[in-house]
Amino acid sequence: MESLYYLTIARAHQLLKSRAISSVELTKAVLKRINQAEPKINSFITLTADLALKQAFRVDKKIKNNQPISKLAGIPVSIKDVFVTKNIKTTSGSKILSNYFPQYDATVMQRLLSSDAVILGKTNQDEFAYGFTTETSHFKTTCNPWDLSRTAGGSSGGSAASVAAGEAIYSLASEHYDSIRQPAAWTGVVGFKPTYGLVSRYGIIAMASSLECPGPVCRAVEDVAICLEYITGYDSHDANSLKKTVPKYSLDLIRPIKNLVFGLPKEYLSGGIESGVKKRVVEAIKVLEKLGAKIREIKLLPAEYSSAVYDILYAAEVASNLSRYDGIRYGYRVSKGKDLNEQYFLNREVFGPMIKYQILTDLRSLSGGEFDKIYHQSLKVRRLIKNDFESVFKKVDLIIGPMSPCVAFKKGFYKNGQYLSSPETDRLKPLVNMYSQPPTLVGLPGISLPCGFVNGLPVGLQIYGPLFSESKILQAAYAYEQATQCRKFKAKIK
């Protein structure tokens, strides 16, 4: 019998419906796996085992009574700690929220709960989702299940590692630009970022609001499709939420990709990309060609444009979002200050160094009178990037490339409150920015899915497309996944 903790959502649902397994059995198997793996992996900040078993029990009762159940019912999920969860500790990886028990649920959490999902707990992340190795978390560093001396990526490292290690069937994560998909690539699982506005942001602990986007981390493309059907949809609590009919993504997966045209930006496979990663991506492209897809070389705007826009918008949004942590209404409170002024100082001391740097950098830049002009000009450059993508998508259906120019980093890349800088990272950084910042800045959806290994470490293939091209992306990813064995390998945790 297959290990229950490595089931996909689709398979688990089938087994639950046919009563071959119960949700309590499945949940216990995953909890047992968490007990075994967690000391080595550190995926979770908070575990909610009792709650999970109660929810599982409830679903089993429904099945027993022949009541209809959703495709997510009774299936254990981990939730990134960036989402507020009613009466469940929510920290966003920061000490400043280490005692925060929210009074309400994020919309996506609410949607999972009303689908009878089984909530395992809250996963580790970089502090306020700022970072890419999960090492800036106040609580712990998440290790990569494929090699414990390496990081699981970030900021959603805990979510990705929990899925890769069999500590959850799937996970709910979030990203500003690659925080769902880069950890998914580094841990050999599938990560999906939907079109901005398709999935509600209500209840995400805010960092850079115009970029934030929730999305799932799963073991298979089909699971992503299923998950999207439940978390997508209009929410009056999110001013940027879109009124769109949610397609049945999972029923529309099997489509021949014979006529699809993929664009491949020439720059994606040049410069500092690791040769092993490049090889895997080139092989993946050949697989798609064999399936009948066409590959066309394309040219996008220089990546430095988006990088500049990204940094400036981020600067404007982060400082204002993080100014709310005064320790008075909620969050960590230092009680020894002699007056309010001193209390503010003492309280903000508990921010991690990276967050302090970001806040001060942002504030200093905002304080100059000219920033307003620069901000507005950045929004025009954002338009330039949008127009560029629109003209590219007249020639191609989707764009393909690596998710990350390298495999998972060794742990210890974050030291003394800073990420290390070396000639190697200087070569990689422009590529990291180039792969994900331009599409994210204009809200495009995208996926990362496993496309092989380099020295035993997973490599991710990225496919992204125009706004609302979720179905097409999933069809292409599904066709690739079915044509290869890549997703079938599981990490041996040593």
Partner: protein, 99 residues
């Protein structure tokens, strides 16, 4: 935006935000600011290419609409106060505001 960054400026900002950092950390902030300024230069260089373009304030082109002014259920006072560790008579208690 001023283009020259000095440590006194950064010290000033730490006072404004009420966030203390040490001398080494101030240097880090200075480097980061310099990098941000170089990004500003990139944006400025694109002035001609973008001057006729419309800004994007919302990626998905949503328009502002008013929702109905309906009273909905809200959190109870006890719930609102449940996240703070010091309360008195239904209020949040802080340390003294004036010196």
């Amino acid at each position: 935006m001023k283009t020259n960054i000095n440590l006194a400026d950064i010290e000033h900002i730490t006072q404004v935000y009420k966030l203390k950092i040490n001398e080494r950390q101030k240097q880090v902030v200075k480097t980061r600011l310099e990098r941000l300024l170089s990004q500003v230069k990139v944006i400025k260089k694109l002035h001609k290419q973008t001057e006729k373009l419309e800004e994007i304030t919302n990626i998905c082109q949503l328009e502002n609409v008013f929702r109905k002014d309906k009273v909905k259920a809200s959190l109870k006072q006890t719930e609102v106060l449940s996240s703070t560790n010091k309360t008195k008579g239904g209020y949040i208690k802080t340390v003294k505001v004036l010196e």
